[in-house]
């Protein structure tokens, strides 16, 4: 967090608004509300679409809540207890979805942090057709999950798909169950996601790279730093705030995976690739248990909050 703020501050310093200096600290009586008025539009949105739903979710999670059933009894922490009670009907499904989400996140995040960085470094050099390639790598990202999901489901079909046919044509095994068995299903889901979203992270990195002053590279070069040294000592530190952003949003996005497994593997084999968000949707909207779905959401959100905090801590520590 500190990093982000500093970068923002640095940018402001570079181009101070006209008469900026004197404004700070001047608080005339009656103007105390000013900052809050500026905050108000966002605050209103946050309250309406952020805080209130969260509080309502907490309220739901301690009830057996069905949109239509007239009585919605208070059940205390039962909905939470069910998630940790191996005798409950939901226990197996819940933890198998947690496991699926964890596997997907652990394997997709490193790739989605590193590969786009490599792409961005390549696309940041000047070469003929650079704009074309930038567009090409970003292109999959503009497709919706329904499009890429159906597309890859058919491409990856074990018996009819193009992927196995091509593998067979070059003498590799042609019967890999890409979407119906693990670990192949994970390879497919992670691979498709990397293909689909790398372009987005690459664009963020690219912006970060262009923010690093060329003078720093020049200075490093004068000091005799080779390409690796320049990458390690100039590029990486310069990208740190961007990396924090990329890492955090990628972890959150990966943990929220739903469409890919819903469409490509359809949870198979069994329910092994069913993810947490999918489980929450089913629980709340298909099985009409909004209370239990809310309890799941809150446990899941808490876990992600902890992970994000650790993430921020880690980057701050590195800075020190």
């Amino acid at each position: 967090m500190a990093d982000v703020i500093e970068v923002g501050a640095a940018r402001e310093d570079a181009s101070p608004p006209a008469g900026g200096k004197s404004r700070r600290g001047v608080t005339q009586p009656g103007n105390r509300a000013t900052p809050y008025l500026f905050l108000a539009p966002y605050l209103l949105l946050f309250l309406t679409f952020g805080l209130l739903p969260i509080l309502f979710g907490l309220w739901l999670s301690v009830h057996q809540w069905d949109l239509q059933l007239p009585n919605r009894p208070f059940v205390g922490l039962d909905n939470y207890q069910d998630l940790f009670d191996s005798e409950s009907a939901i226990y197996g499904d819940w933890w198998s979805s947690v496991r699926a989400t964890a596997i997907f996140t652990v394997f997709s995040v490193p790739l989605l942090v590193v590969i786009p960085l490599g792409l961005a470094l390549l696309l940041n050099r000047s070469f003929p057709g650079r704009t074309f390639f930038r567009a090409v790598y970003f292109a999959p990202y503009v497709l919706g999950v329904a499009v890429i999901g159906l597309l890859w489901r058919f491409l990856l079909d074990a018996n009819l798909g193009l992927v196995n046919r091509l593998l067979g044509a070059v003498g590799l095994p042609a019967d890999t169950p890409w979407v119906t068995d693990v670990p192949w299903a994970w390879v497919s889901l992670v691979g498709v996601t990397v293909w689909w979203t790398s372009g987005f992270n690459a664009v963020i990195y690219l912006a970060g790279l262009q923010d690093i002053s060329p003078e720093l590279y020049e200075a490093a070069r004068v000091d005799g730093a080779n390409a690796w040294d320049r990458f390690r000592n100039v590029t990486l530190p310069g990208l740190r705030p961007v990396m924090l952003f990329v890492l955090t949003t990628t972890i959150l996005a990966s943990a929220n995976v739903f469409g890919q497994s819903f469409l490509i593997t359809q949870g198979a084999p069994g329910e092994e690739t069913r993810t947490v968000v999918w489980r929450i949707v089913d629980e709340g909207l298909r099985d009409n248990d909004a209370g239990r779905a809310a309890a799941m959401s809150i446990v899941f959100a808490l876990a992600l909050t902890v992970i994000s905090l650790v993430n921020f801590r880690f980057f701050r520590y590195r800075e020190d």
Partner: protein, 443 residues
């Protein structure tokens, strides 16, 4: 639930359909004693003379019959100056998750088309109205329908759905592939011996003849059919306990899984791959929904035949479901709207013969037995299946339990567990779900 996943079948490109109407040749001329309880407004759909009402109707007919449905609605609107029906179509999967939210926020439809096994859930949850008076006006009774379909519309002895159509699983076979393997393309197998002998011949010709899909569409529904053919059931009579790990069920499951071991099916068949392979001539046999008749008709060169499911077990049986009309409860019920909706349902029932011609099995027996219906190719071929069709049982909240059944088959068909183990595990989970449902719905 069946319908939930039914949607998944994305009947969309494949021509879903089905929706036939309860076809009644004689219509609202009798009964007409409007009861005055609950949502029993109007005179049971006989006529509506009040001020103009706008009605919203939701369905999941994303296939060719969606157009047929819309044409019928247009005709209805032209003939009724004081009722205007507007149709909205969703995929079934979205449909059932959208409906409860829409209803509770006051944006729901007035009329909703629903699968038979959803009725109990939505009735128990107070989403739909009783329709006993409509049935009375239409002079519908059990003798006109397959008994299961008729009873499926009841919940706590009250009627909530008026059946439109029935859609069973059928047997699709590729004549060209059969010919290539030296089989008579006009004689699809009808017994277990014929069936396995044909698969052996196909295997000799290098064709894995019957692809076993691990997914609900269509492997799960195939297993559902065979389980009943072997004499098993999914649940006990009161739907208190799951029974799909009985010996017949395990045997039926083993029979299907062995197809893979014997080389009659490849392993890891993907969603839709079984049916696409049939059309592409990569396999010969596929059990699939009657809705695919619309799809195969699009390509006359494909040479796909349609027959009743062969009898592989000790008795005949085929998975089937039924679409029903329901009237949705609104906040601040408008009796004019309810009366108008009943008139619409009544009218569509009268016109279901036209509709049946578009490719569905009418719910009404007398239309099913009419010469006009019997002249419709393929659709009429599957109509006899209704005598032994295995409809999903009706109990509130059963949809998720049936998904557990399909998931158990998925694990067996993908060789993650033995058939016995997969079904035992599935039953253990299903029983917990049933118990949760009992607490929730108090049945």
């Amino acid at each position: 639930m069946i319908q939930n996943e039914l949607s998944r079948r994305r009947l969309l490109g494949l021509g879903v359909g089905l929706g036939a109407a309860a076809s009644l040749t004689l219509a609202g001329c009798g009964g007409g004693s409007a009861t005055t309880s609950g949502g029993a407004a109007g005179n049971g759909g006989k006529e509506y003379t009040g001020p103009k009402v706008d009605l919203k109707l939701w369905n999941g007919f994303t296939g060719g019959d969606g157009d047929i449905f819309k044409k019928l609605v247009q005709q209805f609107n032209t003939e009724h100056q004081n009722i205007a029906v507007a149709v909205t179509t969703y995929q079934w999967e979205d449909y059932y998750s959208k409906l409860p939210g829409a209803v509770s926020s006051g944006n729901g439809p007035d009329i909703a088309v629903m699968h038979m096994d959803q009725l109990a859930t939505f009735a128990a949850r107070g989403v739909i109205n009783e329709l006993d008076d409509v049935a009375k006006t239409l002079e519908l009774n059990e003798g006109d329908f397959a008994p299961t379909v008729w009873k499926g519309g009841l919940y706590n002895d009250k009627r909530y759905g008026i059946p439109l159509d029935m859609h069973p699983l059928g047997f699709y076979y590729n004549k060209a592939v059969m010919q290539k393997a030296g089989l008579d393309p006009e004689k699809p197998p009808t017994t277990k011996d014929d069936f396995t002998a044909a698969l052996a011949e196909l295997k000799k010709a290098g064709v894995p003849g019957f692809w076993v899909s691990p997914f609900q569409f269509t492997g799960g529904m195939t297993f559902y059919s065979l389980l009943h053919q072997w004499g098993g059931t999914l649940f006990d009579g009161e739907v208190q306990k799951a029974t799909f790990n009985s010996d017949p069920a395990v045997e039926a499951c083993t029979f299907l899984v062995d197809m893979i071991k014997q080389g009659y099916s490849p392993a890891n068949v993907g969603q839709d791959a079984d049916y696409l392979a049939l059309k592409a001539g990569k396999n010969a046999f596929n059990f699939n929904g009657i809705w695919q008749i619309n799809d195969i008709a699009k390509d006359p060169n494909a040479q796909i035949g349609v027959a009743e499911l062969p009898q592989l077990g000790t008795q005949k049986a085929a998975w089937a479901n039924s679409h029903n009309f329901t009237i949705v409860k609104q906040r601040g019920a408008d009796n004019n709207k309810i009366s108008g909706a009943k008139v619409f349902i009544n009218w569509l029932s009268e016109h279901s013969l036209d509709w049946a011609k578009g490719g569905q099995i009418p719910a009404r027996k007398e239309v099913r037995e009419s010469a006009d219906f019997k002249a419709i190719p393929n659709v009429a071929t599957l109509a006899p299946e209704l005598d032994y069709a295995a409809f999903p049982p009706a109990a509130p909240g059963l949809g998720e339990v049936i998904l557990t059944f399909y998931n158990a088959f998925n694990e067996a068909a993908l060789n993650k567990k033995s058939p016995k183990q997969a079904l035992d595990d599935g039953v253990a989970k299903a029983n917990k779900q049933l118990e949760d449902n009992r607490k929730k719905y108090g049945n």
